[in-house]
């Protein structure tokens, strides 16, 4: 009996109804880092299996989008991009935007898509959306390389373009984008478990969001032409992120410090909210999904 009472203190862990707000166990997540990498590897290996063009799809999609944007927005609608070749201007926006979009749509499907797996075995669920954000990084890397390729091509053709002196901060911007999409994706995926309507909203909403995220036009243009509605773009953290990415890569436009700070704050709030909601859903979703 006595031995029993002393032993009571030495439980390794306890399973109880969830009530803590954040119980993200970083140590545990770290223990599962191999799983994260294996998920990334799986995604990379399997995504274009049995396709003819394989990873070329990584390139085709942004290139064609940029070409079409250039034709419609710059040639037809006549949006001016300053000294920057319109194609490069669009490609910069599309490349950054693609990363955000891919991360958001994939992470917002986490619970629903993996219900089978999550219903059978436990691992820190956050591994799944994190692996998506990481594996999309590779895709993003390839697209960035293409962008750089065209960059060099345009320089050789006599265009006077150069990156901003702060271009080394670009990775930081990617981290912010990753966090923002991860946070938003976690919130949506948690809510999708109960309210399926959101699935429809995401695919449609992301498309609409692109138009207010300054992907194919500079932010200054909206202020100039649509001053009454420019607040929509102004309040959209993604618009600031895209605008900043263009500033860093192409030295285009002006750096709006307030906008950047605003975006970072929103990103952190969204990310933390996402963590909380995701954690809450993690334990019970299998009963509702």
């Amino acid at each position: 009996m006595e031995e029993n009472s002393t032993a009571k203190e030495r439980w390794l862990f306890e399973i109880t109804p969830k009530n803590k707000l954040i119980s993200l166990n970083l140590k545990e997540v770290w223990q599962y880092k191999d799983l994260l990498m294996l998920f990334v590897k799986r995604d990379v290996i399997t995504v274009y299996k049995q396709t003819i063009l394989g990873p070329l799809w990584y390139l085709i999609q942004p290139l064609f989008t940029s070409i079409i944007f250039t034709i419609i927005f710059n040639n037809v609608a006549g949006i001016k991009t300053g000294g920057i070749p319109p194609f490069l201007f669009n490609l910069a926006g599309v490349t950054s935007w693609n990363y955000f979009r891919e991360c958001l749509t994939a992470t917002s499907d986490t619970f629903k898509k993996n219900a089978g797996l999550f219903g059978k075995v436990y691992f820190p669920r956050i591994i799944m959306p994190m692996s998506i954000v990481v594996s999309n990084l590779l895709k993003f890397g390839i697209q960035l390389a293409v962008f750089i390729g065209f960059y060099v091509f345009f320089i050789f053709n006599g265009n006077e373009i150069s990156p901003s002196p702060y271009v080394f901060l670009y990775p930081l911007l990617i981290v912010i984008m990753a966090m923002f999409s991860l946070g938003l994706g976690m919130i949506i995926s948690s809510m999708v478990t109960k309210y399926r309507d959101l699935t429809f909203l995401v695919s449609f909403g992301v498309q609409l969001l692109m138009y207010v995220s300054a992907v194919m036009y500079p932010m200054s243009l909206v202020k100039e032409k649509l001053s009454t509605y420019s607040w929509i773009v102004d309040y959209n953290p993604m618009a600031h992120i895209i605008e900043t990415s263009r500033y860093l890569l192409l030295n285009d436009g002006i750096l709006n410090m307030n906008g950047i700070i605003y975006s970072v704050v929103i990103t952190i709030v969204i990310f933390l909210t996402g963590l909380i909601i995701f954690n809450k859903t993690e334990k019970s979703f299998i009963d509702t999904v």
Binding site: W11, E14, I15, T16, D34, L38, R42, I45, T46
Partner: protein
């Protein structure tokens, strides 16, 4: 006495019935409003035990209710119960797939669960890649897997195919590979659900052997859920019985299995005897079942292997019938037809049954040589063995016990169907 490694206290789990979606927002809001005011969850009070056969008044049921259980280190604990008794829910909570509604589980060791083999296998990945992925999903690190990979491949017996995508594997190979990964996990507590139901006999033997090694050889704790009583009996050192979400029995293997069969029999007894007078030409009455010593058997009673078994009943005829015929169908608890007996079997013919007469029919079967289990009998009365006149579904249910008919000490294997009386001799030649 070895120490307690796992302690389950007052564990309960509530589920909401019906369509989730309609009305959930209002419930959610109500729940939240109670929480804000510091009151108890209003929906936790409602709820009934999980008896599926009776319609409850509330939308909430307790899949598990107040489970208390202690598991000692190195023990192989069997968990048995009917479908829907709460076994899987318990395992899901243990493996942290879903959370409990109230109560807690305390553990001194890592828990790894095997609720299904091959979770997370990706068909496009090769066997080797899948070993790593699956191992990592189950909680192993890359280093652990690397050190064991040859052992895993060897155990699964898929050396030749290891660098081929698993979509080219036969289902048996996939299962073997998946079980091999799981079997090489090294948690202090392993939770296993029905994995032995897959694979061929040889592999099942291997799997059971491996599980025995894990518990006996390596002193790890195994929680084993199964419907396969033979596997439970050969593996477990202690068994608990769940019924309607409650822990109803806890004890030695043999007693628990017996308790469980008693529950099953009780339930089978509740199965309705369904008379169906198809054409109104005949009527059956006075159905009796007699044992070897001509003692009357009650529906649901047990018989011994090798017992004689006799059924008697009266048939009242309301219309002249040509070629009156009878059939007895005996089903096992899986509703497989085990035996089909008809009157022609012993040369009985009833060319014409005359209006208004009453016939007394008796059927005797000398030796019941089925594998012990629960059986039910359907009776069929008809014309020319084709046209049904009168049927009784579940006219008699009995459980067959092993008894002393066979001299073997172990139980007859549950997955076999029939016992044949055999004489064995050995001579030096």
């Amino acid at each position: 006495m070895s120490e307690v490694i796992l302690k389950i206290e007052n564990l309960s789990k509530q589920y909401r019935l019906g369509t989730v979606g309609t009305g959930t927002i209002s419930h959610d809001l109500n729940r939240w409003w109670h929480k804000v005011r510091g009151k108890e969850d209003p929906y936790l009070k409602i709820g009934e035990t999980n008896d599926r056969s009776t319609k409850g008044s509330s939308d909430y049921v307790w899949a598990l209710k107040d489970i208390n259980l202690e598991v000692k280190k190195g023990e192989v604990l069997g968990i048995i119960g009917k479908n829907g008794a709460g076994k899987s829910t318990l395992l899901k909570i243990l493996s942290k797939v879903t959370g409990p509604t109230t109560g807690s589980i305390k553990s001194k060791g890592r828990i790894a669960s095997l609720l299904e083999v091959g979770t997370g296998f990706h068909p496009e990945l090769t066997g080797r890649e899948n070993i790593f992925l699956n191992g990592a999903i189950l909680g192993m690190t890359k280093k652990e897997i690397t050190s064991k990979i040859d052992e895993i491949i060897g155990f699964a017996g898929v050396e030749r195919y290891i660098d081929t995508p698993t979509k080219r594997y036969s289902s048996g190979m996939t299962v073997r590979l998946a079980f091999a990964v799981a079997a090489h996990l090294e948690p202090e507590i392993l939770v296993v659900d029905e994995v032995l139901a897959v694979g061929d006999a040889e592999f099942q033997k291997k799997a059971i052997g491996k599980m025995q090694d894990i518990s006996k050889g390596e002193g790890r704790t195994v929680l084993f859920v199964s419907h396969n009583m033979a596997a439970v009996q050969s593996l477990c050192s202690r068994v608990v019985v769940l019924d309607n979400g409650k822990l109803v029995y806890e004890g030695e293997v043999a007693e628990s299995v017996e308790y469980y069969s008693a529950i099953c029999r009780e339930r089978l007894k509740k199965e309705y005897v369904i008379h169906n007078n198809v054409l109104g030409k005949v009527k059956l009455s006075n159905l009796k079942v007699l044992n070897t010593d001509n003692s009357l058997l009650k529906n649901g009673e047990s018989l011994m292997l090798g017992d004689t078994f006799k059924i008697e009943f009266n048939v009242k005829i309301f219309e002249d019938i040509k070629d009156l015929s009878f059939a007895l169908d005996i089903f096992n608890d899986k509703q497989e037809l085990i035996s089909h007996l008809i009157n022609e079997d012993s040369g009985l013919y009833i060319p014409t049954a005359i209006n208004n007469s009453v016939l007394k029919i008796s059927i005797e079967s000398k030796e019941l040589l089925f594998i012990p289990g629960v059986y039910n009998i359907n009776l069929w009365v008809g014309q020319s063995q084709t046209e049904a006149l009168y049927t009784i579904k579940n006219c008699f249910t009995f459980s067959l016990e092993q008894g002393g008919y066979t001299k073997r000490t172990k139980r007859l294997p549950k997955h076999s169907k029939v016992y044949l009386h055999s004489v064995w001799e050995s001579k030096v030649v």
